[in-house]
């Protein structure tokens, strides 16, 4: 049995038929072609698959595609400033916050959720918000510094 689902993806309506066992991450990447969420572990441990559902970050490798029927899904492409870099992204660029860039989409979405809830987070709160996004390259400090600098 297939389900026809309707949802908003970065503001655009998508109508698509999905199998019951289709995973959200797969659907986004393979069928719709949105490549920014990545598959780093397939178990929800690394955070590279992070997307937002109705403004809240989730691990899209742990969500069935059918679950987003009627929801608003946001990926990195959807938090840019009309296609340009957002102030958050500009701060990341200035602070050299990313090296290989593989964890960047997930980190940016987690930070976006934080700043939407709390425009002036403490350093501890920033760390907690990205605690589920693993980064092997940077040691996290330049990421934390970029957000701290942006919100001060």
């Amino acid at each position: 049995m297939k389900n026809e689902i309707k949802f908003l993806l970065n503001g655009e309506q998508v109508i698509i038929e999905v199998a019951g066992n289709e995973v959200l991450l797969e659907m986004l990447r393979e069928r719709i072609g949105v490549k920014s969420p990545k598959c780093g572990c397939d178990k929800g441990d690394c955070g590279t698959c992070t997307v937002m559902i109705n403004g809240k970050t989730v691990r899209s490798c742990l969500v069935l595609a059918a679950e987003v029927d009627g929801a608003e899904v946001t990926t990195l492409e959807g938090v840019m400033d009309g296609g340009d870099l957002s102030p958050l992204q500009k701060s990341f660029l200035e602070h050299n916050s990313f090296q290989c860039g593989f964890c960047a989409p997930g980190v940016i979405l987690s930070t976006t959720e934080l700043l939407n809830k709390n425009p002036h987070p403490s350093k501890e709160q920033i760390k907690e918000a990205i605690a589920g996004n693993l980064c092997r390259c940077t040691g996290y400090t330049p990421i934390i510094d970029a957000v701290t600098d942006l919100v001060k």
């Binding site: 490549k35 840019m80 290989c100």
Partner: protein, 781 residues
């Protein structure tokens, strides 16, 4: 006045925007159309077994399965420094998870289903899971045909044994020196295996098209070396280098794990088997743990001779390396680190045995530090113990024996100018060495630890780099190189080097990811050598282009070449102040003469660098007589920790690392390596804990149970210190430092724990559990 415009500046990464906008394409992001096939690997459940039979008949019956391949179709050996690996295990399997077959199907679910139906009949053999076991004279041989394997001439396998290579260094007379020393201290230190845990897993897509062209897309640190290994391995099929093309997009972290060839050859083989259709092999995270390179384990037996005034006289270091089932790359870890296992110290009499031992565990290979992190744990821990016994301050002991310019290295060559002394002094000051701190909380103990470190690029003596540099009509540049951007900022630094020579801002310079058809040769992106090696090539290419520009302007416009210079993307003259010729006006289309004809044409620069003064040939019994290393990068590091005595948990208020990188071409990127490398090193001491069961199976191949640091685990303060004693043959004096920042992490923590609690832990990792139980035991005594 700063003589540089771009060099030494923290220029924004030129690949920054593409990465944070999500536009950066990694291997998993590439689309290959509806014709793409998927391969699932059938793995060995045993650490050591003979393969009697592989029955693929049931698997072939599954609808959607296109092919099933085994070692029978690809009975070829391959390897970087040694040919001891097969594409698929041929007659025997040597580690749990080793690839035995691949099922290729139209979708991944079908491939997975069918893979379960491949029946392999094994005869189990005794798994060899430790170096002690492997060295026992009655131990089963993991590679009975070892003596027939091709290997580079500077490796010395011991036939009819599990010793794949023995690097012996003998300098002076250690026995005599020990006899004449005031003290001789010996001890044993063990460091287990570690996993790279790059956040992006390995992946490969191969296409062997109907014109007999093999293209392999890989997440790789070494596209040209991969091409070479594929061409070597598949030569019996009539495939040569010109038929092989390797393309690498952005790589999501390498740390050495994506160098050489590990699982990529499976993709190439699957492609050859399914001619005309692209085939994808993507590793799961679990496979990333147990079937890619791991960092070898080591047991180091260290004996140090020393005078009562703290002068080191002799060192005997026997390093037993658990190098895994295949050592085609890992044997060089054993080799290179063996040559430097004295650490950055003046040691007149040296005996080092670096022994590369086969075991039935995953293949060891290159990992940031290339063996140096492994032996330095023991060495720097031992120096502290020795200092304690002699009643000398551990930093004073290091200062006294730190290697200086002109001192003789283990293999007989002289040490070059370096900033080790400056590094020690600056770190000492920054950590406030000597100032003992006590916590107000009675449960917390504060300690400080110090260590020196060094490393030389570990490469064959003929590792070359090359670069093409081409202009576009708007005077922007494309630099074509085959080094890999694995996050370190390499593309940006290459752009800065060219920018400085040609006066074109880095924002107008594109450095692209490699395609072996179009980008000229680079050996590999490893060894912390491409800033130096490829940087030299790019600098030469830029100078070549500049030279062509000046020659053209002289020829076409009669301006003396010596009077010309580049500024603000224009050619200017020192003798004619109003001469200003924009590059864009002629860089593609030439300079027009009065008669309407043109001189010149598209300017294209070319550069190449290969050191011509290194040689791996030396006396096999002593390692004297060669010039094995191009240079060393040295440094010092210190840490302050707070230990909760009840829980054993360690907090890091401050860590300092000073590294002599010759010239920091981009200081921010250098600091980025310090922060990232230190945390990766700290993780190996405090959190990462690889476990195997008694059958050789890895028990924790996931992030749930192999813990790498999160943002919650960062030290409070990290202080990077840049030291600049120029590298005579580096671009603007630069030498590499990417690996080095990880190397001292383990011993500084071990030394700090000893300082805080008086407990010396001689094996890694030093988890909270180990510390808590050791303290509880000590307290109870």
């Amino acid at each position: 006045m700063d003589k540089f415009k771009y060099i030494g500046k923290s220029v924004t990464r030129i690949d920054g925007k593409v990465k944070i906008s999500g536009a950066a394409q990694f291997i998993e992001d590439m689309d290959f159309g509806k014709n793409l096939l998927f391969a699932e690997v059938v793995e060995s459940p045993y650490a050591h077994a003979l393969i009697n039979n592989i029955d693929i008949s049931e698997a072939l019956k599954v609808p959607g399965v296109v092919k099933v391949i085994t070692g029978k179709e690809f009975p070829y050996k391959f390897g970087l420094y040694m040919h001891d690996r097969h594409v698929f295990a041929l007659k025997r399997v040597r580690f749990v998870g080793e690839q035995v077959a691949a099922v290729i199907a139209r979708d991944i679910a079908t491939a997975k289903k069918a893979a379960k139906l491949v029946k392999v009949d094994y005869t189990e053999l005794t798994p060899v899971l430790s170096v002690e076991q492997a060295l026992d004279k009655d131990c089963v041989l993991i590679h009975p045909e070892l003596e027939d394997y091709f290997h580079v001439p500077w490796f010395f396998p011991k036939k009819k044994s599990n010793v794949a290579h023995l690097r012996k260094i003998r300098k002076g007379d250690v026995e005599k020196a020990f006899a004449e020393s005031d003290f001789v201290f010996e001890d044993t230190y063990t460091v287990p295996r570690y996993a790279h845990c790059a956040i992006e897993v390995h992946g490969t897509i191969g296409l062997y098209d109907n014109s007999n062209r093999l293209t392999v897309w890989t997440a790789s640190q070494s596209p040209h070396t991969q091409r070479n290994l594929f061409a070597e391995a598949f030569a019996p099929l009539g495939i040569t280098h010109k038929d092989v093309r390797v393309i690498s997009p952005f790589v999501g972290g390498g740390f050495g794990g994506k160098a050489g060839v590990s699982m990529e050859i499976i993709g190439a083989a699957c492609a050859i088997a399914c001619k005309g259709r692209p085939v994808k092999v993507n590793w799961s995270r679990a496979q990333e743990f147990y079937n890619t390179y791991q960092r070898q384990g080591i047991t180091g037996k260290l004996k140090l001779g020393i005078m009562k005034d703290g002068t080191i006289t002799a060192m005997d270091n026997v390093l037993y390396w658990d190098a895994g089932a295949y050592v085609e790359y890992g044997a060089n870890v054993v080799n290179a680190s063996g040559l430097s296992a004295t650490g950055p110290y003046r040691v007149p009499h040296v005996s080092i045995d670096s022994v590369c031992i086969y075991t039935n565990l995953p293949p060891g290979g290159p990992y940031r530090g290339f063996g140096y992190s492994e032996f330095l744990f023991g060495l720097e821990s031992h120096l502290n113990e020795v200092a304690k016994k002699l009643g000398i301050d551990p930093v004073e002991l290091r200062k006294k024996n730190a290697i200086s310019e002109g001192d003789i290295l283990t293999y007989g060559c002289k040490m070059h100018p370096n900033g080790l002394k400056e590094a020690i002094e600056k770190v000492e000051k920054e950590i406030e060495w000597g100032k003992k701190e006590v916590s107000k909380d009675p449960n917390i103990a504060i300690g400080k630890g110090f260590a020196l470190f060094w490393k030389a690029p570990a490469m064959p003596p003929n590792a070359g780099s090359s670069a093409f540099l081409k202009f576009n009509e708007d005077a922007s540049i494309n630099i074509l190189v085959s080094g890999m951007e694995i996050g370190q900022g390499y593309l940006t630094v290459m752009a800065q080097i060219a920018a400085e020579v040609l006066s074109i801002p880095p924002e107008k310079i594109r450095v692209e990811t490699p395609d072996t058809d179009r980008n000229p040769y680079e050996w590999q992106t490893v060894a912390s050598h491409i800033t130096w090696g490829c940087g030299n090539a790019v600098e030469r290419a830029a100078k070549d282009a500049r030279n062509q520009i000046f020659e053209l302007v002289e020829r076409a416009l009669d301006k003396p070449k010596d009077s010309l210079y580049l500024e603000d993307e224009c050619v200017k003259s020192t003798i004619e102040s109003n001469f200003k010729l924009p590059l864009r006006s002629f860089i593609i289309n030439g300079i027009q003469k009065e008669d309407g004809s043109y001189r010149g044409g598209p300017i294209l620069g070319r550069g190449m660098f290969m050191p011509e003064y290194t040689s791996a040939l030396s006396d096999p019994e002593t390692s004297q007589g060669g010039k094995q290393n191009v240079h060393y990068t040295v440094g010092a590091s210190a840490i302050k920790i707070e230990i909760d005595k009840r829980t054993g948990k360690i907090r890091i208020p401050k860590v300092v690392l000073a590294v002599d990188c010759g010239k920091a071409l981009n200081p921010d990127l250098v600091r980025g390596q310090v922060t990232g490398g230190l945390l990766q090193g700290i993780a190996t001491v405090l959190y990462e804990d690889m476990r195997f069961d008694e059958k050789g199976r890895m028990l924790n191949p996931s992030f749930s149970d192999y813990k790498i640091p999160t943002s919650m685990d960062v030290p409070d303060e990290i202080v990077p210190i840049i030291i600049e004693v120029p590298q005579h043959d580096g671009p603007s004096g630069a030498r590499g430092m990417g690996e080095h920042t990880m190397i001292p992490a383990a011993p500084i923590i071990a030394n700090a724990i000893d300082d805080a609690l008086g407990i010396r832990i001689k094996s890694m990792p030093v988890t909270a559990e180990k510390v808590a139980l050791a303290w509880a035991k000590k307290n109870a005594e």
